[in-house]
Every structure is written in C-alpha cells, then in structure tokens.
Symmetry: C2
Subunit: 145 residues, 2 copies
DNA sequence: GTAGATATGTCAATATAGCTGACCCAAAAC
DNA sequence: GTTTTGGGTCAGCTATATTGACATATCTAC
C-alpha cells in the first residue's frame, strides 16, 4: 500500500459530496429551458434517454429510470400531449410500445442539450485526454458496483 | 487535435447519462437505513454536510444545499426533534446558529456512511491510483464550471 | 441610541416527482 | 384455452421542493 489516501473515509466522504454537486449542477443548467415548456427534470431525464436509445420500449425506459410505471406514465402522457414523443407498436411483439422523439422533441432535446453540454464540454476541454478517459472508467465502476 | 472523441456530442450525452446513474446509485444505497429513522434523502444530505463541516451555520448549509430556508427548516426541525443534531448560538455573532451532530447523529451518520461507502470504496479499489486522482480532478472541474 | 441590514424562524399555499394498491385490456406464451 | 407479460389508468398518499409574507433577534453604521 502506497499513497492510497483516497481509500480513507474522509476522502470517500468528500467524493460522495462531490458526486451530489456534479449531478445537481449538471441537471440544473437546463431548468429554465424546461420551464418554458412546463416540463421538469423528470421529463428531461425521459427525453434524454429516449434520444440516446431511440425506439426503446416502455419497460426498457422504466428499468433505466428505476421509477414506477405510474410515475413514468404521467411523464409520458405530458410528452405525448405536447407532441414531443410518439409511441409505436412493436413490430415483433405488438404488446411493446417503442418510444421515439418526433421533430418537436428532437428540437427540444437539442435546445436542452446545448445548455447542459457547456459544463461538461468545458470541464473536459480543460482536462488532458488521459484524465477524461480515466474519469469515465471510474464513473462506470461506481455505477456497476 | 488528436483523439478527442470525448468532446463529441454523443460522448458528452453518455457522460450526462452516467452522472445521473452514479448519483442515483450512490444515494440509493442507504435508503433502507434512513427509512428506519423515518428520514429521507433530504435528511441524509443535511447530515452528510453537517458531519463534513461541523459547526457550519444555517446559511452556510443553505448555500451548499441550494434549497430555500423553508425547505431546510423542515429537515432541521425533524433532525432536532429526533435528537440527531443540535444548534448552538454563534460565539462571535449570536445571530448565527452553528449546527452539530450529537452522539446519536454521529452514530446514524456512521451507519449511513458504512452502507454508502461500499460502492465508492470498491470502485476505487478496482481502479489504479492514477485513475482515481484524475477522476477527482475532472469531477471538480465539472462542479466549478 | 436609532436606523437599517443580516441571520434565522415560521405560516400558508402550491408544485413536482415519486410511491402503493387495485384493476383493466390486449397480445404472447404455454 | 389458460396463464403470463407489457402496458395503461384510477385514486390516494408521501417527500421534497417552491413562492410570498411576516416576525424576531442581533449586528453595523451613523
């Protein structure tokens, strides 16, 4: 064991605090834009995942969000009413609903993303490439623990 | 410009998704313990910050949490009633209230932390020391952007 | 010493995002 | 043809946040 300071409790406590700040700040940035559309962070997360995994089913979205279907349904209803997303019957299994952003949804996502991107982009631009790659590696390990 | 793939939009979108997962998982772990005490994540965050910055004032806690004083007050009231924290008048400026965990609060924090620590500890133990150091560097940059 | 600013506390109403539990329908699997 | 799965919905509740108004104690500046 050399300088494994970061395994000390105090350092880990700091990390726990910082992960909270990083999440909060990253998801705070686009709140003004969301408000224009009467959407909140719940809608944002759904839109983000739909953009990243176009055509995903309701149950796939549920397992990524880890919320109840009743909670998700309110969000999806809002997005459908707003003509931000559309649901299509699954071709293989027509019980499934595949979720897609339509044109309006894609534009909204881009508007949100443009705002949210800045923070991450600047942080990475001011880091060396090795740091960013290792940041991702550790982040993934935290998620998959 | 070499292989700055991580500055591409798609990669940044992935990071935004992963920061959400990392936060959610990190703060989900101790929820069962919190429930035993009828506390939620709002109480958890307050307890965490009080432990990390013992004797901090109400307004310092507010600016770290970035919530309204009305929201914080409900949380602090619960914690006081539960004899988890105590508030003391500031010695220099007696308008201030300095917040401290008492014995019960310290025990509760340790119980929560023990559960929450595992995820981070294991992720770091399975990473090399350079990765963890760079993880922290980038995390800080994201926060301070 | 008084006026104004600051730190904190509190009441009331509202919004957002989640939960549990019950029940429904359509389609697939057996 | 019965059971299971994927999805939708109603109703009521909880947790956490908000806005706005107002109260009190203490400090600062004049």
């Amino acid at each position: 064991m050399r300088d494994l300071l970061y395994l000390k409790d105090d350092q880990i406590k700091d990390f726990i605090e910082e992960i909270f700040y990083a999440y909060r700040e990253t998801y705070s940035d686009p709140k003004k834009i969301l408000k224009k559309y009467s959407f909140g962070t719940a809608h944002h997360r759904a839109i983000h995942l739909i953009e990243r995994h176009e055509g995903l089913t309701v149950s796939e979205l549920l397992s990524r969000l880890k919320i109840t279907k009743q909670s998700l349904n309110r969000v999806l209803r809002d997005l459908i009413n707003n003509k931000t997303i559309i649901l299509k019957k699954g071709e293989v299994d027509s019980r499934h609903r595949q979720i897609f952003l339509n044109e309006k949804g894609k534009k909204l996502f881009e508007e949100i993303f443009l705002e949210q991107k800045k923070r991450i982009y600047n942080a990475f631009k001011n880091s060396d490439s090795d740091s960013v790659i290792k940041f991702k590696k550790v982040l993934k390990k935290i998620i998959n623990e």
